[in-house]
Structures are given as structure tokens and as C-alpha cells.
Symmetry: C2
Subunit: 230 residues, 2 copies
Amino acid sequence: MPHTVKSFDAALQALRETLVEMSGRAASQFDAALKSLRERDDVLAGRVVADDAEIDRLNLMADQQVISILALRAPLADDLRMAVTALKIAGDLERIGDYAANIAKRAVVLNGFPSVLPKQSLRRIGKLVRGLLKETIEAYEQGDAAKALDVWKRDQEVDELCSGFFRELLTYMFEDPRNITPCSHLLFVGRSIERIGDLATNIGEMTYYLVTGHPLDGLRPKADPLAPTT
Amino acid sequence: MPHTVKSFDAALQALRETLVEMSGRAASQFDAALKSLRERDDVLAGRVVADDAEIDRLNLMADQQVISILALRAPLADDLRMAVTALKIAGDLERIGDYAANIAKRAVVLNGFPSVLPKQSLRRIGKLVRGLLKETIEAYEQGDAAKALDVWKRDQEVDELCSGFFRELLTYMFEDPRNITPCSHLLFVGRSIERIGDLATNIGEMTYYLVTGHPLDGLRPKADPLAPTT
């Protein structure tokens, strides 16, 4: 339904564009962080850390755009839901950027140690979470509730892969005490990737709500939280 | 300035009460999680995990209260800022609850191992973060910008104590391979406490903005993020 005030559509469109730019940046920051870890590339890692400020800036901009839409337009129904959801999704994208920067910082530290990376597992988890993030962004941009629901359901896969990764790191630490320090950093890298997966799932959840008007009920399926894995 | 519509004041007041209840619960969940860890109390830990659902429920309620205020009242200026800030603070309190539940889950796992807790350090960090959380909640409830600013400035203390704690855990792991698994869990406990400190700081930041109308500029003082500690 077209709005009578054209500038209102323009304001919503500008907010949408901020979110699209943020999500593109969050995804490419995550890619670059994983690459800096895989290829032991300090320069790339440094760039990821530095570029995080741009996502923070866009998040503040999204906040201001939402507040200005609320103040000047007093939107209702779908538009109000769009504005409030945008506020939350922008916050989640900002946190994805933070986790990507954390991974890049760990990459720099890890380059001070001989490579003990469990590369296969790390690549597998990175690929899975990267895929979920891509899918959740598409679901948001395309307003696709089915796709959003699919992301939401797949969070458990991430938890399971991460539990395996954590167990693998412990075996490295047991094998050789020289692995203890680098593997401790890798525990946190694994946790950061897992949290990016959680945030992708959150965005899927909010996209579902945005498109359908109904919240996703019930808790997400999770791997047994008490399993003594790590 | 009194509102002409009394029910509007009532709606804002109800939202405020939801946040006060959430913050009380988040703080006591954090207390109980630390206690369950310190006293190796599985029953208490189980209660913390179970009670997290109540904070989640209150968070959804806060969201609905905000959306209803925005939809029905179209608030301006101070009231709009109050509503948007409430949305973000509720989200942060919900995450504090999640981290408290995570600590409690780790406490249960840790009880399967002989006690290797670096009790002194853990108590010190817990006490510091508990104090920041208390202060930030008071700042919000009392609308005290100076107190909020004080919390915001003290985040670095948490980071420094946590870095020391992480280093200490590594020494335990080097000393005896049997410490590797429990200390890995404790690394995550330390990280959860650190994140609760960050969230307390966030709430301080938003309270400052809520009270003064100005965002806190610049990045928080942080300990050197690249220091190869953990």
C-alpha cells in the first residue's frame, strides 16, 4: 500500500539501505576474519579490526534513522514493526562485526605460534555459519519467511559442529603442552563463530516476525546444554 | 512535564516496572550463578538455568510494551528516547540472564571434576562485575548520568582482571594435564563474566544517553586487545 507521504517511503527505504549495507559488511568482515586465520595473514586481520568502526558507525546511523522515523512519522502496523525490527537487526549485525574483529585479533596472536590449527574442522564450521549468515541476510532482504524459518531451525547444527571442534582442541592440548596457549585462543575463536551463528539465527527469528507478524514460539532446538564437551 | 493523557504515563510506568523487575532478576541470577560455582551447588545451578525463561518472558513483554506505546501514543522527545532505550536495555538484561545461565551450566560440568578453581581471582572478578551491574541498574533507576558515566569508564578494570584470570588458568593447565578440561570450562566462565561487565557498561552508556540526550562519544578505554594473554 503506497504511503500518502512520499518522504516517508524514502525514509524507510534509506533505513533499509543502511541495513543492507551493514549486512554486506558484516558478512565480508566475517569472511575476511576466517581468511586471515586460515592464511595466517596479519595485514588482513589488522584491516578487519580497523574496519569494524564502519559497522559501528552504520549501527548508530540506523538507530538515528529509526528514531527519526518514529518521531516524525508515528508509523503504524507493518511500518512500525519494520522500524523496531530494524533497530534489533542492526544491533545484531553490529555484534557480528564485533565477533569478526575478535576472530581477527586472535588470528594475529595465533600467528605468533606454530600452526596447530585443526584446519578441516575450522573450515567446516566457518562454511556452515557463513552459509547461515548469507541465507538469513537473503531472507531479510527478500522478505522470505520460509527461508528465515530454515535458518532458525539449523542453529543446532552449528552447536554440534562447535562441540566437536572444542573436543578436538582439548585432544591437541593433552597431546602437547605447547598447544595449550594457541588452543585456548582457538576455543574463543570457536565460540565467536558459534555466536555469529546464534546472531544469524536471531536475525532469522526477527525476519520471520517482520514478515508474518507472529513471533516464533518456543525455544530453538539446542544441543544438550549440559553435555560436558568443552 | 505532565502528560495530558494519564494512561500514557501509566504505560510508561508499566514499562519502567518491567525493566526494574528484569534488572533485579538479572542481578540475582548472576549472584546465584557465581554462588553455584563457588559452592559447587548443582541444585542452585539448575534453578538458575530454569529461571532464565522468566527473564526471556519479561523481555518479550518489554518489547510488546514498547511497541504498544509507539503505536498508540506516538511519543516524542524524552518519551520516545525512553521507549527506544528501554528496548535496548531489556535486550541487554536478557543477555545478562543468558550469560548467568551459561555460568550455571558450566558450574554443573565443573562439579564433575576435582576443585581446581582459582577461587580468589574468580571471587574478585565476580565481585567487581557484580558491583558494576548494581551501579548501572541504580544509575538507570535513579536517572543518574554521573553514575552511568562512572560505570562506563570502569570497563577496563574488568578486562584487566579477566586477562589475569585467563593467564592463571593457563598456568594450571601447564602444571597438570588433568586441569585442561576444567580450566577450559573456566575460560568460558571468565568470558561470560567479562561479557556481563560489557553489558553493564552498555546499559550505563544508554542510561547516559537517556538522561542527557547525548550519546557517549568515542570508544571505551579498553585493555590492549592484541595482547597475547589468553
